[in-house]
């Protein structure tokens, strides 16, 4: 008998030791797998800013700010908007570059602009304030659990009181199981004739969620009780409560499970847990029992009744006084608007994941709770997605046959935007529908570039490599038929209009995108130099050294073109593409900060001449359609349509923004429209929305570029008396030798031009 008892005791000790090990492994190790989250760049508000353009109302709504009808004092997270001013109590937030305290501010409005920003109550004028970055998404593990960890000392006492009042009122005193509660539950269940009440303590609920399955068996209940006792013996009440607050399931956001009060506070009230009111805390405690059944979104009346029950319990247990109880009960249910699905940023999230894979294991991204502060501009991203979607639909309306293809074979496109000076990626939409295809056409697809490659030919010719440039902007180019011997036979380029144009100006050649003049120029400069320029500017794809390279036969990714044009827009300085600014670990330490990097790859003078040429394309060339909606200000742009209209490109830039649009099929086939009809309107829609129709700033002219009058017919320098004059830009030391009117005889080019017109 003694032996039997000994063996039983020994066996029991073994089981307890095993359970203890399980508990310690989980509690002493990483308790929670927290997915890494990605945030947008913060919105910066400052006097002079067009508040409509930055969609201030939309940004406040997306960030969970609540509009208040009353004026006067407002709590953090609320705003009052009237015709002349916006009073907003900005929430405090942590940001690696500028942690912001909560600020009560007044934005005075003057038309579309913010006239001034002042702090309350001092009235001190502020130069700039930041809105918190907007969440773009997260990298989930297989369980798709989302949580924001909170420390016990960060949550308000009334939240803890609400949870304890309804879930475990003797939590502070029991040893892990509450015999009185179990007995009470058993009695209630016997009376009801079915299981109506549970007797689990918080510790038991935590143990069940952490270690056990939800099955209702006696054996599982025994394990639960034993482990609850072990947890209580090993860890203090504070640790257990904190773990519970972070673990408990509190609802769904789409396919994602929301765990813990930190995340739930954001989901239901759009604010951090630290800022929950008594009534809000009561509601969150109320839904623990059945987060989806009592969801305040689904059944607000039921949720409010249950919340009031929790508030009553808090009062009865002496956790709140009568005044707070009554105030909380009277508080109407005010939920955060449902956060819009950041689905349009998923191509961007995938790009980040691929970039991060170089430094972080996939598990780190799904478990380590990194905060990734990206460069993405939430407003531009939404605008890019909308512009692309509407643009593709417009093409399909024009050519109805295109719309009849099955989803995986439908017309596709991509749009990306970056800031040329810094290389920050501002928007990226890699396809028309992420759910149908996750292939990112902006960064993963390489397609023939067509005429958007041509500027590299002109830059190679304008660049004074070895001292003297091949051409100046006053030069005239030959657009006569051309035949070039190649290993695969004679190559005879033709123009889009099927004509030859004899002699044309440099500007005309690019503005009208003449293939033959460009091919001849490339022959003159040398294909190798053209490829070298493209490489320096940022093209990384293979560039076959064949004559047709000049006309864009090389296959290039849109993101490469964006970088190359950004280099032109920023005066010859090539930026390093930047999608992430800061990486912060779960303890708030900045573990990685991406630095601004750039390199001068083209002299500023040549970059300016190229910019000026591309401004001409945008103002009166093939890209002039961008002005159709009234877009004003400095823009450089180029259209590109490949053979049989298989790929439509549009690349355009302002001093602050470069955007690339590509339209085509994944398996190349003809679209039946050129770039000016298919891609240009998408770019125009995007940039009009981004800039409000007025592009700020200018492309600054470097000191070594001179502006001189020329005769456009001959390229000669124009003096007083010259019949036709136009200003043109030249690198210092490259002014034309010929003078108009000339002392003796016209230049041979002029005679040739004259002959063609007689």
């Amino acid at each position: 008998m003694l032996t039997l008892a000994f063996l039983a005791g020994f066996g029991l000790a073994g089981v307890v030791a095993d359970l203890d090990q399980v508990v310690r492994d989980r509690f002493d190790g990483t308790r929670f797998r927290v997915p890494s989250r990605v945030y947008s760049a913060p919105t910066i508000l400052y006097p002079g800013l067009d508040w409509k353009l930055v969609d201030l109302r939309g940004a406040l709504a997306r960030l969970g700010y609540r509009e208040s009808a009353r004026t006067g004092s407002l709590p953090p997270g609320q705003y009052h908007w009237d015709a002349r001013r916006v009073h907003v109590h900005l929430r405090a937030f942590e940001h690696p570059s500028r942690p912001e305290p909560a600020r009560d501010v007044v934005l005075r409005l003057s038309g579309r602009n913010i006239a001034s920003i002042s702090a309350l109550p001092s009235g001190r004028e502020l130069g700039a304030v930041l809105l918190e970055p907007e969440p773009l998404g997260a990298y989930y593990g297989p369980a798709r659990e989302q949580r924001e960890l909170v420390a016990l000392d960060e949550v308000p006492r009334h939240l803890i009181d609400a949870v304890l009042a309804v879930e475990d009122q003797r939590f502070e005193s029991h040893p892990g199981i509450d015999l009185r509660r179990i007995a009470g539950a058993m009695l209630a269940n016997l009376r009801a004739g079915s299981i109506r009440q549970g007797g689990s303590t918080l510790t038991q609920q935590l143990v069940k969620n952490f270690f056990l399955t939800p099955e209702r068996t006696f054996r599982r209940k025994l394990h639960e009780a034993a482990m609850a006792l072990i947890v209580e013996a090993r860890y203090d009440k504070g640790e257990i409560l904190e773990a519970y607050l972070n673990e408990i399931y509190l609802g769904q956001r789409g396919a994602t499970a929301i765990h813990g009060f930190g995340e739930a506070a954001h989901l239901y009230f759009g604010k951090p847990a630290a800022q929950l009111t008594v009534a809000e805390s009561g509601l969150l405690a109320a839904i623990i029992q059945s987060p989806n059944g009592i969801s305040p979104y689904r059944d607000p009346e039921r949720a409010t009744r249950r919340r009031n029950l929790v508030l009553d319990l808090m009062y009865e247990q002496g956790r709140i006084d009568a005044v707070r109880h009554d105030q909380a009960r009277d508080e109407p249910l005010r939920l955060a608007s449902v956060t819009p699905d950041p689905g349009d940023a998923r191509y961007f999230l995938d790009l980040l994941r691929r970039q991060m894979a170089e430094s972080y294991a996939a598990e780190d991204l799904t478990q380590e709770g990194l905060r990734i502060y990206s460069t993405l501009d939430r407003r531009l991203q939404a605008l890019a997605a909308k512009s692309l979607q509407e643009g593709i639909e417009a093409i399909e309306r024009r050519i109805p046959a295109l719309a009849k293809a099955p989803p995986e074979r439908r017309l596709q496109g991509c749009l990306l935007a970056m800031r040329p000076q810094t290389g920050e990626l501002l928007a990226l939409v890699g396809g028309r529908d992420y759910r149908v295809s996750q292939f990112d056409r902006c960064t993963q697809a390489r397609r023939q570039s067509g005429s958007v490659f041509k500027p590299f030919v002109f830059i190679a010719a304008l660049e004074p490599a070895g001292g003297v440039p091949t051409i100046t902007l006053a030069s005239r180019l030959d657009d006569a038929p051309l035949a070039v011997e190649t290993p695969s036979g004679l190559w005879r380029p033709r123009n889009y209009d099927g004509e030859f144009h004899d002699v044309v100006s440099v500007r005309e050649a690019l503005e009208r995108s003449f293939n033959v003049a460009t091919a001849r120029l490339a022959q003159q400069v040398g294909v190798k130099r053209v490829a070298d320029v493209a490489r320096r500017l940022g093209i990384e794809s293979p560039l076959p050294l064949v004559p047709s390279l000049a006309l864009g036969t090389a296959e290039i990714a849109p993101i490469e073109l964006a970088r190359a044009y950004a280099t032109i827009a920023s005066g010859g300085v090539r930026p390093t593409l930047q999608a992430v600014e800061d990486l912060v670990d779960r303890d708030g330490h900045v573990v990685d900060r991406r630095r601004l990097e750039f390199e001068r790859v083209l002299d500023p003078g040549t970059a300016y001449l190229a910019t000026s040429l591309l401004e001409g394309v945008a103002d009166h060339g093939t890209a002039a359609g961008i002005r159709a909606g009234g877009l004003r200000g400095p823009v450089g742009a180029k259209t590109g349509t490949t053979d049989e209209e298989r790929d439509l490109w549009f690349v355009g830039f302002t001093p602050d923004l470069v955007a690339v649009v590509w339209i085509g099929f994944d398996e190349p086939r003809s679209l039946g429209v050129p770039s000016s009809v298919g891609a240009l309107p998408i770019w125009r829609r995007f940039v009009e929305g981004a800039t409000g129709g007025v592009v700020r700033g200018r492309f600054p002219k470097p000191p070594l570029v001179e502006r001189v009058a020329i005769n456009p017919m001959t390229g000669a320098r124009a003096l007083a008396g010259c019949p036709e004059q136009r200003d043109e830009y030249f690198l210092r030391g490259t002014l034309p030798d010929e003078i108009c009117p000339s002392g003796g005889g016209e230049s041979s080019e002029f005679l040739r031009w004259l002959r063609t017109r007689l």
Binding site: P47, P96, P99, E581, L596, P604
Partner: protein
């Protein structure tokens, strides 16, 4: 008192009064403090400059990461702000990163030239910082003349061969 003495006294008094009520005009400092530009340019440039000044204040307090982030914010508002690049160059010289400092200096110079905002008062910082960056690289022979030139122009700031955040702010 003789009449001449009274006239002399009156003259002296009037000169004294004039001096007392005329604001003293000091010659401008030979080097630029960015806070002097706070009210210049369009609102976008002003907001961007405000963030640069915040960044310099953070640099002054040794909050280097925060400072760098603020310069990035300044460029988010106005990516062509040459003073943001200038402050970044100073930040990198102080942090011992000469490569980045030189990159940012070149960018600042290009933009100042292009926007015709170059002046001897800002150029002294470009010259001095270039000298300081080259000295970091061990290129003393190139660095010393530049630092000496900066010290000649703005001795109170550049005499020690460094530019503190407060001196640029």
């Amino acid at each position: 008192m003789t009449r001449a003495a009274r006239v002399a006294l009156a003259l002296l008094l009037s000169v004294f009064t004039a001096c007392a009520f005329t604001p003293l005009r000091l010659p401008p400092s030979p080097s630029l403090h960015l806070s002097e530009l706070a009210d210049e340019g369009d609102p976008i440039r002003q907001a961007s400059l405000e963030l640069v000044l915040d960044g310099l204040a953070a640099d002054e307090m040794g909050e280097l990461r925060r400072a760098q982030g603020l310069y990035a914010r300044a460029l988010q508002v106005d990516s062509g702000n040459p003073y943001a690049y200038l402050a970044l160059a100073r930040h990198h010289v102080a942090g011992g990163d000469s490569d980045r400092a030189l990159e940012h200096l070149a960018r600042a110079r290009d933009l100042l030239d292009a926007y015709e905002e170059m002046s001897p008062r800002v150029e002294v910082h470009l010259v001095g910082l270039r000298g300081a960056a080259l000295r970091l690289e061990g290129r003393t022979a190139e660095a010393e003349p530049l630092l000496a030139r900066a010290a000649d122009v703005a001795p109170t700031v550049w005499r020690d061969g460094t530019l503190d955040a407060s001196e640029l702010r």
